[in-house]
Symmetry: C2
Amino acid sequence: MAIGFEAHRVSGAGAARLGRLYTAHGVVETPVFMPVGTQAAVKAVTPEELEQAGARIILSNTYHLYLRPGADIIAEAGGLHKFMNWSGSILTDSGGYQVFSLGELREIREEGVEFRSHLDGSRHFFTPELAVKVQEALGSGIAMVLDECPPYPSDRDYVLSSMERTTRWAERSLRAATRQDQALFAIVQGGMYRDLREQHARQLIDLDFPGYAIGGLSVGEPKELMYEMLSWTAPLLPENKPRYLMGVGSPEDLLVGVEHGVDMFDCVLPTRLARHGVVLTLDGRLNLYNAVYTRDYSPISTECTCPACCSYSRAYIRHLLKANEILGVRLTTLHNLHFILQLMADVRASLLEGTFSSFKREFLSRYKTAEESKSS
Amino acid sequence: MAIGFEAHRVSGAGAARLGRLYTAHGVVETPVFMPVGTQAAVKAVTPEELEQAGARIILSNTYHLYLRPGADIIAEAGGLHKFMNWSGSILTDSGGYQVFSLGELREIREEGVEFRSHLDGSRHFFTPELAVKVQEALGSGIAMVLDECPPYPSDRDYVLSSMERTTRWAERSLRAATRQDQALFAIVQGGMYRDLREQHARQLIDLDFPGYAIGGLSVGEPKELMYEMLSWTAPLLPENKPRYLMGVGSPEDLLVGVEHGVDMFDCVLPTRLARHGVVLTLDGRLNLYNAVYTRDYSPISTECTCPACCSYSRAYIRHLLKANEILGVRLTTLHNLHFILQLMADVRASLLEGTFSSFKREFLSRYKTAEESKSS
């Protein structure tokens, strides 16, 4: 369960850290964004394209892979890295978030969670031990413990009992883990309750995991509340271990997360937006379905060096999207991944140069957030 | 309307020819297969990938581009080559085949054909002159005359009158053409009637087009009948001009076409099959949705050097297809294009070496045609 990590705080940049994560499949510079490859593929792109965009670590989903094609098939293929031809690092989630999102299709007990597959309705029983076993079969470099992520809002009593069960599950996960080349991260829950966040962080830190995630944020709460929770929770985590903010990935949230000392992020946002024709630029989001781009022969961004911006116009990509051509989604996906990964590279460079605060200020003064660009 | 072409018959290979087509966008070795990029994109792949697969000329569809995004937009973008970022050659069809396939949505008159868009029901009127004008706006190196492709079966009287109108349309097209960097090809129709094929070929040859296509085949007739028509029609065409068999592209049909002296082919087959999970191999077609590939960790073909076969297993590609991941269709498309383009490269090499007949015999003795592989 070894993972190497070194990070140091950067002066004049809040709690922001610059670091390196040493995984069984290579070194990852942090802070880092992990593109999401839910079903053993980052939607629409190849591993070569991911690497060219600057990705060094991706996330894949245990729940989805357990159901299809099945962990046994991936293990037989030589593990997830070999199955999907990705030589960089992989973090697998535990499947908890997906299972708990099933709502009425699942039932939580102390032993684990029973659920019905969203694919075929078949019954399954997930335990902390099984989540570890499946992730060991997948062979990811970083695995996550099975946890419950309570919905927002949830009352304090529920969050407390759920969180205590998540701690017991974390203990069971640690005992179940056997692979020396896979690091198991715990997930701090506690809802929107400061004292519960503190209590849960303490419980999990006592168990001495090699890394800690902040879960239960970006689940529908107001953005200010999320930032407040983040500002309380991040400082509770050990300085010498990687901190991972789950499910967060809008440009503005990444910058806030970095400022609070987060090292790792993942989010489907850039790839999902791309499939809806929405591209990220330094000025905010553009929806290429908009008629204003019909005769716009300029690239998505003249400041971008991605394959889409080097060779194709907004007018052409808009045409492809409207004509339902796969190439359209390929190009928007490549662009958005490149944008987010370049943003993180710029963040790391600014941390190295001691200019993170001004970088963040300048970026945010120009970048229109989603709500602003909707009305523009 | 200049296009350069040189070809010579190869001894011991029937009427097969080895040649070179000099277009405004480069030299194309013949016999050649043209991948189809209906909507200004070969489905699922980039121009770079096409080129790496060996494509030097592609086909695009005037009907589709006229309706969406509109020829004016493509012209404003600098032409189709620039719009879609393809530096090789492009042949555009006239839109005739698509319009006549609309059935009740179109009405043919001497002046042209009135039709309703399959996209939004809007009314349009296509004439031979407009088909030339649109293709000149697109800027393809080879344009096709507007023709009528009668359905199979059609009675002799109908085919005769349709064919004579197609000749008059061909004359009008020639008079309308103005671009010196675009060659206009005529299309020999005549249905399944030998005398009409002969008559139509003579009429069009008298008009001295720079190239001739064989139309009206592969429209539902039995394969033996198609081969018979091909064997009658191909020898009627001038030796010193390129011959193009429209809409044909299964491996077995390509070999028969080459043997009859055809230089150019196009077909959606390899890309359409790929989107249905069907891949071409030297042993025939494989349907990767088949459960037999669930744990098959070998590549689609150990004899193939395409990106899909170099890095991915049948089991992985099957998983992607079943999970509806775009990458699955990307990989099957790359493979099928590579297979067909490699087949044509092998055909040219065998013509050069004087071994075409044995190459064809050996290929067909191993390759199971579609019907055979269905039952296996």
